[in-house]
């Protein structure tokens, strides 16, 4: 059994808590949140010891692993402190507000040989995993262009400020929606190395961007377009997709559906020349406990397995999250 504590019981923290609560290899030893209403609820019904001060919780509950799901501005100091105490960390995305901080955390975790993971859940979605597999096999030849997109209805009216609207606290579409998409591009096609130019547009928010449009160049030399908008209420919920054009074909994938076009008959098993349409159901395996999507359980299963030494700590580690932080800062620096 792995002793786990959770800091932050907002939307993601509560979701992690529930999945951890149902996990057969996990004992929840503590939850920390500043809202007494939330901790009283958890204490009353779940029976998990609750705290308002994370330092006190770590000292008393002695977790082997901690989930950090607080606003991004607190990540660096909290995660550093936890790593210093020799505890494995799962952090919410993005890792840090500056790439220097993220790099330091990645090095620290590596030096101390602690398991470290960030909640970029797209990598645990079956369709995107299949895209990675196809690209690895060079199934569509050499990629020469990509378009990575995410749209959804988060900020759809003008309203008063919350932490989401403060860039110093990790607010804005770039750190939120766009980070998922950049991380997916980094994973599928290679890390972003240069940003040609970017447009950060506000639509309803006053102090932060609601959309991000950017021209990215990757380490491999491949270039493409990033287009993200969290003020688009023609979508019911966040919808992320990637289109990759290659010399031998084309891939269009979102979290539900994968469409692949092959120009020639020479294609991987299970595919044929022309268009192929596959769905999540063709790839996604069942999880033991389901909440909001298989990927949320899968990423936690993977982390707990890594802590137990059953799998290598290679997916979504701090190093890959730092590469995403780095790309985010390049986009910000090139914004017109």
């Amino acid at each position: 059994m792995v002793k786990v504590a959770v800091i932050g019981a907002g939307k993601m923290g509560i979701s992690h808590l529930s999945i951890l609560g149902a996990h057969p290899d996990v004992t929840l030893v503590g939850v920390c949140d500043t809202s007494k209403m939330v901790t009283d609820f958890l204490q009353k019904y779940s029976g998990v010891p609750c705290y308002a001060d994370y330092k006190k919780m770590v000292a008393e509950a002695k977790p082997e692993a901690v989930f950090v799901a607080v606003p991004t501005k607190f990540h660096y100091a909290m995660i550093k402190d936890i790593l210093d105490q020799g505890i494995h960390v799962f952090g919410e995305k993005p890792l840090c507000l500056s790439p220097q901080e993220g790099k330091e955390l990645a090095s620290l975790a590596e030096r101390k040989k602690l398991v470290n993971q960030v909640g970029y859940h797209n990598k645990f979605i079956g369709t995107f995993r299949e895209v990675k597999q196809l690209l690895g096999e060079k199934a569509i030849g050499e990629p020469y262009h990509f378009t990575a997109e995410a749209y959804g209805p988060v900020v759809t009216v003008r309203k008063k400020a919350t932490w989401r609207s403060d860039p110093k606290e990790g607010g804005g579409c770039l750190l939120d929606y766009a980070s998922h998409v950049i991380d997916l591009v980094n994973d599928l096609l290679g890390p972003v190395e240069r940003v040609k130019s970017s447009l950060l547009k506000s639509i309803y928010s006053e102090d932060v961007e609601d959309s991000v449009y950017s021209l990215l160049e990757l380490r491999s030399g491949l270039s493409g377009v990033l287009s993200v908008n969290w003020s688009d209420d023609t979508y019911r919920k966040m919808s992320t997709s990637i289109t990759i054009q290659g010399t031998k074909g084309k891939i269009i994938s979102d979290a539900n559906e994968l469409k692949v076009f092959f120009r020639e008959a020479d294609c991987p098993p299970g595919y044929s020349k022309g268009w192929n349409v596959k769905n999540l159901t063709d790839f996604q395996e069942n999880v033991a406990f389901y909440l909001r999507g298989e990927e949320y359980s899968s990423q936690i299963d993977y982390f707990i397995d890594a802590v137990q030494g059953k799998v290598p700590n290679v997916i979504n580690n701090f190093h890959s999250a730092w590469l995403t932080d780095h790309a985010i800062s390049l986009i910000r620096n090139t914004a017109n």
């Binding site: 007494k36 009353k44 019904y45 779940s46 988060v154 769905n279 033991a288």
Partner: protein
């Protein structure tokens, strides 16, 4: 409960396998009339129970039903609450307390705040009751014999081990609405176990049940064993496995299972409704008349 229940996913751009189809549905069902046309088709095919989320647009459906009592005699709605995206977005933005403050009606929550946190901490169940009342407002005058808790909330509470809240939902629905409580879940075996242990007898549980094992947490075998051995009223949803199973095969499997009281499906066209309904009748008849016929499990 009726054998066949009609769902609402297609009306609100919920499609588990294609964003493109979602968009096409959002366009097709832009007007309330378009929704009513399909509900009328379902009714003509003998399906008179509509199971739907507490989406804002359901208010339009309720008004249409109330406006023509002759046409909709015997028509029932099973509300499924809450419409989770509304709350999820609010929680991300405002925190749990802020979101509650926004959605719990009236001055109750404000006066609780003024009264101090100690009082609130003892009164989560009252807050839940107020939220149920708020969600149920649009159904006034409509026959709602079963009221469901949505899977995001049911499953969240399962993981948090807050079974008492599930039981409180069950109790309040009976007391206030003279209706039965139902639970939608993606973790059916676990939920049935928890409710049984908590003393809820013969609960109504709606879950993904399909030949492909899609969204059947822990695997198809555990679900089949639960259906065989536990006392509860099962509703099978996502019977097509997100589109992975041909309709005929999908219905044959579900109809062959023991203890499935109802089958929930959604469709956008009269043809598809007719097909699915006729498959269900066909395989039900086979099961009833042919004890020697192969039955799944």
């Amino acid at each position: 409960m009726d054998r066949i229940l009609f769902g609402d996913n297609q009306f609100f751009a919920v499609n588990h396998i294609s964003d493109e189809k979602s968009r096409a549905q959002a366009i097709k069902f832009k007007t309330d009339q378009a929704i009513m046309k399909v509900l009328d088709d379902a009714l003509d095919c003998g399906v008179s129970t509509f199971m739907c989320t507490t989406h804002d647009r359901i208010a339009g459906v309720c008004q249409a039903v109330l406006a023509d009592p002759a046409r909709y005699e015997g028509f029932k709605i099973y509300p499924c609450m809450p419409y989770a995206h509304k709350y999820a977005n609010a929680v991300t933005e405002l925190g749990v307390a802020g979101a509650l403050k926004q959605y719990v009606p009236g001055n109750f929550f404000g006066s609780l705040f003024k009264g101090g946190m100690a009082y609130i901490s003892k009164d989560y169940e009252s807050i839940m009751e107020l939220m149920i009342d708020a969600e149920m407002k649009m159904f006034k005058g409509i026959d709602t014999p079963v009221i469901f808790l949505q899977n995001v909330i049911t499953d969240l509470l399962i993981g948090l081990r807050a079974t008492e809240i599930l039981v409180a939902f069950h109790t309040y629905i009976r007391k206030k609405y003279d209706a039965e409580a139902g639970f939608i879940t993606m973790n059916m075996p676990r939920l049935v176990q928890l409710l049984t242990e908590a003393g809820v007898s013969n609960p109504i549980v709606c879950a993904s049940i399909n030949k492909a094992g899609f969204r059947m947490s822990g695997g198809r075998e555990v679900y089949e064993e639960t259906l065989r051995s536990k006392k509860f009223r099962a509703i099978a949803m996502q019977v097509l496995g997100g589109g992975a199973i041909p309709p005929k095969e999908a219905i044959e499997y579900v109809c062959g299972l023991p203890n499935i009281e109802s089958i929930l499906f959604g469709a956008s066209s009269r043809g598809n409704i007719e097909n699915t309904v006729s498959y269900i009748h066909h395989y039900d008849k086979l099961k009833a008349h042919g004890a020697d016929r192969p039955v799944y499990v």
